[in-house]
């Protein structure tokens, strides 16, 4: 099997991860049955400077979950598939409904946000305006006399 080793700095939930190639065309052999989702491979490689890999035969990317140096310049690794990166073209092309987004310009401010933390101490604002007609000066008043 042919494996390409990477150093990936992105989190697992990143689509279109940032990775740096460490070594490609590394020969890998398996002991017994190979689980496509969680393969265990013996690599013709003698360093641990990688955390991510691509298996050409499976056309998938994997997180390297364990590394063990073996005698004779080999390293035993196991991995877990990363479907987000493996099928990123298909994922990017999906039609979906976004309910939250990092971009504040997309913020619909009038949809209630349960994650937004509110402060218990409330603000009170007062605005004085208008006036009743002809407010009397101090001590002054009007009278209405009703007669028949």
């Amino acid at each position: 099997m042919t494996v390409t080793l990477y150093n990936c700095t992105s989190a697992s939930n990143v689509l279109n991860k940032k990775m740096t190639k460490v070594q490609d065309n590394i020969n890998a052999t398996a002991k017994g049955i190979i689980d496509v989702d969680r393969p265990a491979l013996l690599l013709d490689y003698n360093s641990v400077d990688f955390n991510y890999m691509y298996i050409q035969e499976f056309s998938r990317y994997y997180f390297v979950t364990s590394r063990a140096l073996m005698p004779g310049q080999h390293i035993m690794i196991s991995g877990e598939s990363d479907p987000l990166e493996s099928f990123k073209a298909g994922v990017r092309d999906l039609d979906a409904l976004a309910v939250r987004n990092e971009d504040s310009s997309k913020w619909n401010k009038y949809i209630s946000d349960p994650l937004m933390i509110t402060v218990c101490k409330r603000e009170t604002h007062g605005y004085k305006f208008g006036q009743m007609q002809d407010v009397a000066a101090a001590g002054d008043s009007s009278y209405i006399l009703g007669v028949i």
Partner: protein
């Protein structure tokens, strides 16, 4: 543009003034009051003699240069007759008028402000005038300066502006007026310029009508030189308010000419630095008279055009914005081209239904940012259910000042009433208000008269209360959005409003970001008020809150009802038996009797005197309400209690902002949470992998751009 009514088809024609096309009927024989078409602009004047008064100003050359675009001339008179038997009136088209003939007006053209004018055909006795185009009323803003005195006779001749007069309608007496004007020149308002040669004048049979006697009403009385009096006479003519256009003119004389009371000119000039003066000469002696500020304000409001006070600034303003200012005032005009003598503040024009405010009736759309309310409401067609009038039924209600009330109390206590007369039997209520109620509440077209109680004239002048405009604006306010997001709405923010004399009322959050208007209905006969809060949505008014309250308190009327007591005493004397009246000086004993025969006139003169002296009798009408009601806050107060959010700087990256947007995943960037993603389109992934992808997308994925 004025369209002609289909009612009047005789001799129809049209005139074009600039871009305005006016159509009208030149001759109308009969118009019944019910046929008055409010789509037409009517003007009226009585043929043959002066019955109506029109605001009339004569401008000099400099003023013509400023305002000439706003004044148009044409010719022709039109007949209007309010009934088959009434005297025909000449209807003059609002935009008609001709330059005055030299022998009438000199070389000046008479300009007239107001929607109704008097326009006879050119003749030696009178000629027509140019008229302020009603659509151009908004292009002129007059700034008056008032010169006069406060109520103190010894006060100093001082200069005040319109705002001062508004605030002190009863505390200032106007002697002179100087008028400045801002004029729109097509792109901006010109600087405030003094109208130097404007001369107010009265149009009538003769060039100038003697001010002392018009229709038999003494508008101004003569005073001795240097004496000052206030004249509270009404400026109103005797026209029928329901059946003809209302018109009014300042009773101002020319400042450089002088007139004798009989109307003949004479005397010397009294120039006064371009001020208008209420004055005229009587046999070469100059008398100065003064008009109460309240009357002057009414006079100006009747012009139906814009005035401003000294604090007003046209800086940055245009025809769409100049009016929305607390320092601007517009004379109210009702349908039928009738001005009411009431000023409306510029800030209240949006909620006012005055017909001469032009196109400033649409509410500015106040949609919350990014939102769009989508509100759909029907016009509530809010109209008062009733219009009160003080002369409805048997009761009449008078507006009294403190001094007038004191005079009434004195009259009640000190007057010797006829036997059997009990004034208190005719007094049904006395309410005290913490306001100096303006004459706007009074019957606008009924002159003040004496208070008559049970047929007895108190000789106290007071105005009857009317309430032809029951809903009065108490203010408007643009409710702010303190957060600009969902936190401005329930349950995060509460809106409350204090309505003067009514108290606090909760407002729905629909007011957020919108303009609210408060209108109060005053019932001056009971001191009750109802305050309504309106919000305008899509140009339609909707009531959102209402609260009632009291703006005044009942107070007692008490005093001596001498006439009642004397009648009782006399009756007791008469019924006590026959025989001679036992008269004791200074007292009447309980056994005093008089011969009973045809009435108490047989009681001796001395007995009568004793009856009068012993007739003290106290009556009390009403009860006293709490004084606290008089100490209420007089302004509206909007209280907003809101919740604030604590939003850290990296909130978007950590939590993401709420949105509801459809699109491809690739169209989004950064932290994004999707909802209910359909991953069936990912072809070669296993079911487990698809579930994992869906889980990640719905719990939060960070999307980097593709390289």
């Amino acid at each position: 543009m004025a369209e002609y009514s289909t009612n009047y088809t005789q001799n129809t024609t049209s005139y074009t003034f600039g871009t305005e096309v006016y159509k009208f009927s030149r001759t109308v024989d009969v118009i019944n009051p019910s046929e008055i078409d409010n789509s037409c602009i009517y003007c009226g004047a009585e043929n043959g003699s002066m019955y109506d008064y029109y605001p009339t100003y004569m401008l000099g050359t400099a003023e013509k240069a400023i305002m000439n675009d706003h004044w148009s001339a044409s010719g022709g008179t039109f007949n209007f007759q309010k009934s088959a038997t009434a005297t025909p009136y000449n209807i003059t088209f609002v935009k008609c008028g001709e330059t005055g003939t030299a022998n009438e007006r000199g070389t000046n053209t008479v300009y007239q402000i107001g929607k109704t004018i008097y326009n006879k055909a050119s003749s030696a006795s009178n000629s027509s005038m140019r008229v302020l185009n009603p659509t151009d009323i908004r292009k002129l803003i007059f700034r008056p300066s008032f010169y006069g005195y406060t109520t103190s006779p010894s006060s100093t001749y001082t200069n005040v502006d319109l705002k001062y007069l508004m605030d002190h309608p009863d505390d200032f007496f106007v002697q002179d007026i100087k008028m400045n004007v801002y004029a729109w020149n097509g792109s901006t308002f010109t600087n405030d310029s003094e109208i130097q040669s404007i001369r107010p004048c009265i149009v009538g049979e003769n060039y100038f009508i003697p001010v002392i006697n018009v229709l038999g009403k003494h508008i101004f009385g003569m005073t001795d030189y240097n004496s000052r009096r206030d004249y509270t006479q009404s400026f109103y003519g005797t026209y029928d308010k329901d059946n003809m256009p209302m018109s009014f003119a300042p009773i101002l004389t020319d400042e450089t000419l002088s007139y004798n009371p009989d109307g003949s000119s004479g005397g010397g000039a009294t120039p006064n630095n371009n001020k208008w003066k209420w004055s005229y000469n009587y046999y070469n002696s100059s008398y100065e008279i003064y008009a109460p500020a309240r009357q002057v304000l009414q006079l100006m409001a009747f012009c139906g055009c814009y005035f401003c006070d000294n604090s007003y600034s046209t800086s940055g303003k245009n025809l769409n914005t100049f009016w929305n200012d607390e320092h601007i005032y517009l004379g109210e005009m009702k349908e039928g081209a009738r001005t009411t003598g009431v000023f409306i503040k510029g800030t209240e024009l949006l909620t006012s239904d005055t017909i001469n405010k032009g196109e400033y009736s649409s509410q500015t759309d106040f949609t919350p940012g990014g939102g769009g309310s989508g509100d759909k409401i029907d016009d509530m067609n809010v109209n008062p259910l009733w219009a009160m009038s003080s002369d409805a039924g048997f009761a009449r209600y008078f507006l009294l000042s403190h001094n007038q009330l004191a005079s009434l109390m004195t009259w009640l206590s000190d007057t010797t009433f006829p036997d059997g007369y009990d004034p208190y039997a005719y007094i049904i209520s006395l309410l005290q208000f913490p306001l100096k109620l303006s004459p706007n509440w009074c019957m606008p077209r009924t002159p003040s008269g004496h208070i008559v109680i049970g047929g007895e004239d108190t000789n106290i002048t007071a105005s009857l209360i009317a309430n032809e405009k029951p809903w009065v604006g108490a203010g408007t306010y643009d409710v702010p959005q303190l957060n600009g997001n969902f936190l401005d709405y329930d349950p995060y923010t509460q809106y409350e409003l204090y309505i003067p004399c009514a108290g606090w009322v909760s407002l729905p959050d629909i007011v957020c970001g919108r303009k609210i208007a408060i209108k109060i209905n005053y019932d001056l006969t009971t001191a009750a008020i109802i305050g309504n809060v309106y919000v305008t949505i899509d140009g339609k008014e909707m009531i959102v809150a209402s609260k009632s309250g009291m703006m005044g308190r009942e107070t007692i009327v008490t005093g001596e009802a001498q006439g009642v007591r004397s009648a009782q005493i006399t009756s007791a004397l008469l019924s006590a038996g026959t025989g001679a009246l036992n008269v004791a000086t200074g007292a009447i004993s309980g056994n005093a009797v008089a011969a009973v025969s045809g009435g108490y006139n047989i009681v001796s003169g001395l007995a009568q005197a004793n009856i009068a002296a012993n007739s003290a009798y106290t009556r009390t009408i009403g009860s006293t309400g709490g004084r606290a009601i008089l100490c209420q806050f007089d302004q509206c107060y909007l209280k907003i209690c809101t919740t604030k959010a604590d939003i850290p700087e990296n909130y978007g990256h950590i939590c993401g902002y709420v949105c509801n947007l459809k699109g491809k995943v690739s169209e989004f960037r950064g932290y994004t949470v999707f909802d209910n993603v359909d991953v069936s389109g990912i072809g070669k992934a296993t079911d487990r992998e698809k579930k994992l992808i869906k889980q990640i997308l719905e719990s939060g994925v960070i999307i980097n751009p593709s390289e």
